[in-house]
């Protein structure tokens, strides 16, 4: 039985359990629900939980474990001679799975009856041919052991899912009977149901932890794999980024690809720096004006308008950089006039556009922080005869400084992790150069290009993306933790 229908029928059983539980509880109380410990629906829910939950837990465990067991059995069937030079057991297993799938499909299409698919032995070429004719993807000609393994794979999978169906049903019914037995007017159904709901809530809350663990594990495993294939010292200290197309080693046994992170880090930091040079003054002055000078009317219009900039998706900024800002900068700094700029994609293009994107980020964070400075400090300053701007410059800003620094650090972490603007606006060449009108590239842009390219997934050229992602994750996390630390420390001063 397909898993989908299995799930549906177990749920149906659970629904039946709900009705049965309710009625049984009411019957035990002589039809008067006031004699029950809990509301009737809790007895129903209790039965539903008892029916469905153990069955589903078993189902999930079975689905996770079964492939491993079957695979181990099938691997035993493949003689070591079958594994070709340069290949490995995983590739052969993939072939077995494909063949098994092909046999499944060919039976489903009605081109071969089930018995035949289970027992075809003699004519290998005929099977391959028929699989191909039925439009099934089979790479090389199927050999005898692979066909045998595939048939074994099919039969064990079929048997496995049959046993699974039976086991899940038996457990569901057993759970239901157990629940029925305990359903009685004095049974504390509500406590059980509420405890289960609480477990569900805790499980949901744990997803945040699981996500972090997932991120860290997927980064670490692949990064370690990368460092097995490529020396870490080269990655961190080699000043060139030049992945070779096919990968491979030179005659000294060193990888042909030069995968140094330094030029990418430089590009990232340079672009972020330009973005901050644009965003910090504008954002900060906007925040000061909005919180100290603007009337509430101006504020209520200007603040949401500025925040629209933060709600615009980054792909829009990327396109804006590529198609509008780049050509505009070319017309100012390009060959026609100053001759500094060769192409529209450059550090300057990406930096400027990213700066625009960060303005509302800096301004709304600084706005909050400036507003948190107590009014008494301003009043004290005015009382001494200071003008408004003197008060801001010499009292408010110094008092808010740690918070503002925190805001800038958060903006910097945003800039470092930004992807679409640099993918479209910054160019693809990894360079260590000081000229802001030259194309450079960043860590994020290279993660995209290494993982969306044609490189084999197990090659250092693709795996380097995980090492880059790890560096990015560590950098942004460090900046965020540091920024939050500063902000929090500052906030405690006035509370």
């Amino acid at each position: 039985m397909p898993v989908f229908w299995l799930i549906l029928s177990v749920l149906g059983l659970g629904g039946a359990g709900y009705v049965a539980g309710r009625q049984r509880a009411l019957a035990s109380a002589g039809g008067d629900s006031r004699n029950l410990h809990s509301l009737p629906s809790y007895y129903g829910s209790n039965l539903f939980i008892k029916t469905v939950v153990p069955a589903f837990v078993l189902l999930i465990i079975w689905l996770l474990v079964q492939p491993f067991i079957i695979e181990n059995r099938v691997i035993g069937l493949i003689p070591t001679g079958e594994i070709a030079e340069g290949s490995n057991i995983n590739l052969v297993m993939a072939e077995v799975r494909r063949t098994a799938e092909g046999l499944d499909n060919i039976v489903a299409l009605g081109l071969m009856d089930a018995d035949e698919a289970r027992n075809v032995r003699a004519d290998i070429s005929d099977v391959t041919q028929r699989l191909k004719e039925a439009g099934q993807v089979v790479t090389s000609a199927i050999t005898q052991p692979i066909l045998l393994a595939a048939q074994e794979y099919r039969t064990s999978s079929a048997a496995g899912s049959l046993y699974m169906t039976i086991a899940v049903f038996v457990l569901a019914i057993a759970g239901m009977l157990f629940g029925m037995k305990e359903t009685h007017r004095d049974f504390r159904a509500r406590n059980i149901v509420e405890a289960s709901v609480k477990i569900l809530l805790i499980a949901a809350a744990s997803i945040a932890i699981l996500t972090t663990v997932g991120i860290i594990l997927s980064l670490i495993f692949n990064t370690v794999e990368f460092f097995r294939l490529y020396p870490a010292s080269q990655f961190f200290f080699n000043p060139t980024w030049l992945p070779s197309f096919g990968g491979g080693l030179d005659h000294d046994g060193n990888p042909l690809s030069k995968l140094g992170i330094l030029p990418l880090l430089w590009g990232t930091l340079y672009i972020s720096l330009i973005a901050l040079v644009v965003a910090v003054p504008i954002g900060l002055f906007a925040a000061i004006y909005l919180s100290e000078y603007a009337t509430s009317q101006v504020r209520s219009i200007a603040k949401p308008l500025l925040e629209i900039l933060a709600g615009i998706p980054t792909i829009v900024y990327g396109l804006f950089a590529l198609l509008t800002v780049g050509p505009m900068l070319i017309s100012i700094f390009g060959d026609g006039s100053l001759g500094w700029m060769k192409a529209g994609t450059a550090v300057m293009t990406a930096g400027l556009v990213m700066g625009i994107m960060l303005i509302p980020f800096v301004s709304s964070l600084s706005d909050d922080i400036i507003n948190a400075v107590p009014q008494a400090m301003r009043d004290g300053s005015y009382g001494l005869g200071a003008t408004k701007s003197e008060t801001i410059k010499q009292v408010v800003i110094p008092a808010a400084l740690p918070g503002i620094v925190g805001a800038i650090l958060l903006a910097a972490s945003r800039a470092i992790g930004e992807t679409m603007i640099v993918v479209l606006g910054a160019g693809a060449a990894a360079k260590l150069s000081l000229n802001p009108f030259e194309a450079m590239t960043t860590v994020t842009a290279k993660i995209v290009s290494q993982l969306t390219g044609d490189a084999d997934f197990a090659s250092p050229e693709a795996l380097v993306a995980f090492a880059l992602g790890m560096s990015l994750f560590v950098m942004t996390l460090g900046l965020n933790v540091f920024a939050l630390y500063i902000v929090r420390k500052y906030r405690e001063q006035y509370d």
């Binding site: 509500r190 509420e194 569900l200 809530l201 949901a204 809350a205 744990s206 997803i207 945040a208 932890i209 997932g214 991120i215 997927s218 495993f221 003054p281 954002g283 002055f285 906007a286 000061i288 004006y289 000078y293 603007a294 200007a302 308008l305 500025l306 629209i308 900039l309 709600g311 615009i312 998706p313 980054t314 792909i315 829009v316 396109l319 804006f320 198609l323 509008t324 625009i356 303005i359 001494l384 003008t387 408004k388 701007s389 003197e390 958060l410 470092i416 992790g417 992807t419 679409m420 479209l424 994020t444 995209v448 993982l451 969306t452 992602g469 990015l472 994750f473 942004t476 996390l477 965020n480």
Partner: protein
């Protein structure tokens, strides 16, 4: 102030308070300057916004119009059905290559009938004006109506993207000089055909609802399939992130004890909110595709990744909404004998619902515009031409998403695609705007101040 202490050592000059002295003037000027900086900063921000929006509108509106050629095509029986038996299988054997000459002949006939003076007198010359999709369009019609073979039928076919660009002011006579697809004579011919009504520019619904097209057929490309991809992704995000987000928030706000585990959850949520989106893409690639073997490019995987990204947003807003419900509501519920769980689910949560929904919509809007993680799970790089056939296929078959489709168009070499990319952005922004307006209305109408 340091100035004051310096001055105090000197004998005080006698000045009237009504007369501003040098130093006061300087201070006032500094004040005015400082204020100006603030105004300039706000103005700069607003100017950027206006420039951005006008750029989008001026570049993108063209995509909603398309140049069409209206012409009467003679469905020649000797070409389309050589056996003359109107057997559908025979008709299907004629490929689009068999239809292209018919369409070209039809246009040539229009040109000669109108008596337009042009050096382009051969059938082959018409090819540059007509989209490559026209032959397929006529073929589909014939296969659907085999009895019309032999008739002359009026078709509204797409003009080629160069002609479209010429009418929209994107292609000029100077720029076609090096273009091997079209010549200046073709443009003269288009100029002559426009007043006749053969070539005209109309609203193009296919851009909004249609499928993507191959690199050489910019005139045919539409956003419809990608829109469906985004829709299915948003279904996944809504279906997962709303219950998980609400459950997490309820636990943290109402039940969680003060301990290490709770702290760990809180720290993780605030960190996830700050993780760059590309890292979520890496997670999706490694966990969902490589480890769990979910299908690549599927909206299901995209939705899962975006769910993880959206969760912190929803959790933060839901917690704020739960916090805003006054404790007296809980106390009253507990006072009449409700359990804690009942108090939360029957009283607190319904009262917090407007805030929860507002946060959810804003989270969804964020997820709808996100591109970077989708690049890594393979939602770009192929042509989304097939509409999903049903629910399962909508979730599991490879598809694109709106922002990913825009990125794909921006990368293609033909400038005609840039117009499509801007047009796609208009559609995307309309969606985001609608969602945000709904969120604001929800907040205005249903949010209670206690």
């Amino acid at each position: 102030m340091t100035d004051a202490s310096v001055n105090s050592s000197e004998p005080r000059r006698k000045v009237s308070l009504t007369e501003t002295d040098e130093r006061t003037k300087r201070r006032n000027a500094a004040e005015a300057r400082f204020r100006m900086y603030g105004i300039a900063a706000i103005a700069a921000g607003l100017v950027f916004l206006v420039v951005l929006l006008t750029t989008i509108l001026s570049n993108g509106t063209g995509a909603f119009q398309q140049t069409f050629i209206t012409t009467e095509v003679y469905l020649d029986p000797s070409k389309l059905d050589k056996k003359g038996q109107r057997n559908i299988d025979d008709i299907k054997k004629v490929s689009t290559f068999g239809y292209a000459p018919l369409v070209q002949n039809a246009l040539l006939k229009e040109v000669t009938d109108a008596g337009i003076e042009t050096p382009l007198t051969k059938r082959k010359h018409m090819k540059a004006l007509i989209s490559a999709s026209a032959a397929a369009q006529v073929r589909d019609f014939v296969i659907a109506n085999p009895d019309r073979i032999g008739d002359t039928v009026e078709f509204r076919i797409l003009a080629s993207s160069r002609v479209d660009g010429y009418l929209k002011g994107r292609v000029f006579r100077e720029s076609v000089a090096r273009d091997k697809n079209i010549d200046a004579e073709h443009l003269d011919l288009v100029d002559a055909l426009v007043p006749l009504g053969v070539v005209n520019k109309e609203f193009n619904l296919d851009f909004i609802l249609g499928a993507d097209a191959s690199e050489s057929r910019a005139e045919q490309a539409g956003l419809g399939v990608a829109m469906l991809g985004s829709f299915f992704m948003m279904l996944v995000v809504l279906g997962l992130s709303l219950p998980i987000g609400v459950a997490t928030s309820i636990y943290l706000e109402e039940f969680a004890p003060q301990n290490r585990f709770t702290d760990l959850i809180e720290v993780n949520i605030s960190n996830l909110a700050a993780v760059p989106s590309i890292v979520f893409g890496i997670l999706g690639l490694a966990v969902f595709i490589q480890f769990a073997h979910l299908p690549q490019s599927a909206p299901l995987v995209g939705g899962l990744v975006l769910t993880l990204m959206t969760l912190p947003t929803i959790i933060i807003s839901t917690r704020a909404a739960l916090k805003a419900v006054p404790p007296s509501i809980r106390d009253a519920a507990l006072g009449v004998g409700a359990s804690k769980m009942q108090a939360v689910f029957h009283h607190v949560l319904p009262l917090a619902m407007p805030g929860v929904l507002t946060g959810t919509i804003i989270g969804l809007a964020q997820a709808l515009g996100e591109t970077a993680p989708l690049l890594l799970i393979g939602m770009v790089g192929y042509i989304a031409t097939n509409f999903p056939e049903g629910l399962a296929s909508g979730f599991l078959d490879p598809n694109s998403a709106m922002p990913a489709q825009i990125y794909e168009w921006a990368k293609r070499a033909d400038p005609a695609y840039y117009e499509r990319a801007w047009g796609g952005i208009i559609i995307l922004l309309v969606f985001l705007l609608t969602m945000n307006i709904i969120a604001i209305i929800l907040r205005r109408r249903f949010e209670r101040r206690w």
